[in-house]
Symmetry: C2
Subunit: 432 residues, 2 copies
């Protein structure tokens, strides 16, 4: 077990250095990391082979083995991602607002890094590079905890990240690896040194983290995504969107878990949907009305709040748009939900009232992703509503400061009326 | 004790209504509230008189009685605030970003309300109007818990807020009053219905709330604000800023609690500062070096992390800018800190490295306030770094949604390369 207090303290001191570094320096570290990954790839692949062998001996399921593998293809993707990130604009020092408060006193709202961020992620080693590179670009320090199965790969990748940092005159301790569950438990206690925890995992895992720490948590938890087929839906669009949302990749958080359909269009759509989905080996669990139209298993109340991540779909017939919205707000996970309709008014109501990070009109829920949205990459998809919502990229890793620049102004002069508030918007960037 | 679950549920249902209301409707409710306050002022004043009499009988301290009083002057301020708020731009439905993802598929990042917000505030009844009006304007539902002493005044004010809502076709349950500590304890359990808690109070109170709820908390806690007088400070500016920061109003969170001064300029500044501050009845607690220059009480380690809210100032001599920054980041509360210097480079380093919501150059810390910043009003000053930081106005009461508008696009087509990502920035607002 590591001395987490010492490690967090070094992380915090490193934050004060990386937070004020020039963007060219941070970009140089990203490009150096890309070079080091190419240069040291034999060692990385060999460490990954050992992790894979251990995982096979422990009889890990094939999808998990697939996620754990880090070969030429993943390496090329990761290197490409680093180059793209280095080319992106500096997320720090951006002036969001500038106001003259009174003569000679200017207020600037300026983006700045958050501080020390702990990220707990699953067994994909490429996630380690994505997360640490986003943190470097945004001037934060990061504490990384990956899946147990990937430990050997993660150790060598972390070493490369740290080399890239120190060879670019940045503190290596801006990126540190945690290795055990005990490390995580210790990390959760360091609320004076760590500013944010990002846990990626199940709902219950995110809740566990929240219940065991005073550190703010941005959770990436369940995705119970819905497609609602409105009375006024175009049938072809409805079928395309529903099939893609369900089967394009069943094991991801933005796949559809529940289909809602208006009762007047259900007899037209459901039989065709049934044959399309069963040909893809999807099992349907329907409410009583659905079971009268197509052969299916009866859905229980529990189905409406279940994330299957599998070839299973729950289906419910609703009497109105309003009931569809109620169902989603009640049973959904506020991730991504779609309406299929040709009625703009209904689309507008749905998109305003559904309380989710992504509200879609006539498009597959599978589009909920940081790369797809053009954010570069993501550290996670936030299902809460504060700070960052939905795919969380560089912007979600920044906060802001108010910088106030004066020449000895006092509140006493303001109260006496010797000076007046002008509150004039300025069209300029913060000079410091 | 109220049935908090039922109350929170009604608050949530009301949220779904107020969240989709037109800005004209929300503004009408604010203006109607201003009218009702004028119209029913005799009843409000009489309820406040009773609260004041009870408070006097319970021997409340004079500053608390002053905060509790709600008379003609406070009424005029509150009415003026409501009119100004009604005139402000709609914080909802603003398009923050628009991107074409692929042909015919447009993504919009659009501001939206947060949901149900619980606010726990001190004994000022005018705070009830400020908080509920900010929540109405931003389309949120609010659960209000004010100071025990102000209960009678808060009850009648809440009734007026609810009348203004229902007379403007908005749900009265968007604003509800909690009356007891037991109500608060019950509210903290409703994490599936309530989206955010804003506790205003001491550090220990905010911690108590955080430790007893899974609901996200935006804390307004201690203000341990610093002024650092740099070696290159202009002496007159240093004295003006230091005196105003300390004595303009000692009992507020943006008053200075600790002065740091560079050792080379200390012999020049401290004697003059000593006579200015002692003439205002300020007691100085200094470190050993300070005590060699001016008469003062010796400061203990505890002084550096104490919010006095009183005519007391701790003073420390530091050998460098770097040590000043370290002291502030270690002992401060990340609220507001100022450097006095003529050296732009030092100002820049200070403003980048000091990890606080407000970083000031040559201006009194007393300027840290939502009205002063031009935000209209504030629900609190956030001392955390996530979501909102510093004075928190309308913008802090909003989040955003991603609205994606397509025509049947599927991820399968993207993966097959039948369509390509364009990621073209659009210069348009979301049509829905």
């Amino acid at each position: 077990m590591k001395d987490l207090h010492d490690l967090a303290q070094r992380s915090r001191l490193s934050f004060y250095q990386i937070s004020v570094s020039a963007v060219d320096t941070r970009n140089a570290a990203l490009l150096r990391l890309a070079e080091l990954l190419e240069q040291e790839k034999a060692a990385v692949f060999s460490a990954n082979q050992k992790d894979l062998e251990n995982a096979k001996n422990e009889q890990l399921a094939p999808p998990l083995l697939h996620r754990l593998a880090f070969g030429e293809e993943k390496l090329a993707q990761v290197v490409c991602g680093l180059q793209a990130l280095a080319a992106m604009e500096d997320p720090l020092g951006q002036t969001l607002m500038a106001t003259e408060i009174t003569q000679g006193l200017n207020l600037y709202k300026v983006t700045s890094p958050i501080g020390v961020i702990g990220v707990i992620f699953e067994s994909r080693p490429d996630a380690l590079i994505q997360i640490s590179s986003l943190c470097i670009k945004s001037g934060n320090s990061v504490l990384l905890k990956g899946g147990r199965e990937a430990l050997g790969t993660n150790q060598i990748l972390t070493e490369l990240v740290r080399r890239a940092l120190s060879e670019s005159s940045l503190p290596a301790d801006s990126a540190q690896l945690l290795e055990t569950r005990e490390d995580v438990a210790e990390m959760l206690k360091e609320d004076t040194l760590i500013d944010l925890i990002i846990p990626r995992g199940s709902n219950s895992f995110v809740r566990y983290i929240m219940d065991h720490s005073r550190i703010p948590v941005l959770g990436h938890s369940d995705g119970i995504c819905h497609v609602y087929i409105d009375r006024d839906a175009d049938p072809e669009t409805a079928l395309r969107v529903a099939v893609d949302s369900k089967v394009q990749n069943v094991s991801v958080c933005n796949a559809m878990e529940t289909l809602l359909i208006h009762d007047e269009i259900a007899p037209l759509i459901l039989p065709r949907l049934y044959s399309l989905l069963t040909s893809k080996k999807v099992t349907i669990r329907g409410d009583a009305s659905v079971c009268r139209i197509i052969p299916c298993e009866p859905a229980s109340e529990e189905d409406w709040s279940t994330e299957y991540l599998d070839y299973i779909l729950s289906v419910r017939i609703v009497p109105s748009l309003h009931e569809a919205i109620d169902h989603i707000n009640r049973f959904g996970s506020h991730h991504t939900d779609c309406i299929v309709t040709t009625n703009e008014q209904n689309a507008s109501v749905f998109m305003k009232q559904v309380d989710s990070a992504g509200v879609y009109w006539n498009v597959s829920t599978r589009f909920a992703d940081g790369f797809v949205y053009g954010l570069g990459a993501e550290v996670g998809i936030a299902t809460g509503k504060l700070h960052a919502r939905g795919p969380m990229g560089l912007e979600g890793l920044t906060t802001y400061k108010y910088k106030l620049i004066g020449s000895g102004q006092t509140m006493e002069d303001m109260k006496k009326g010797l000076r007046v508030y002008t509150h004039r918007k300025l069209n300029e960037n913060c000079p410091l």
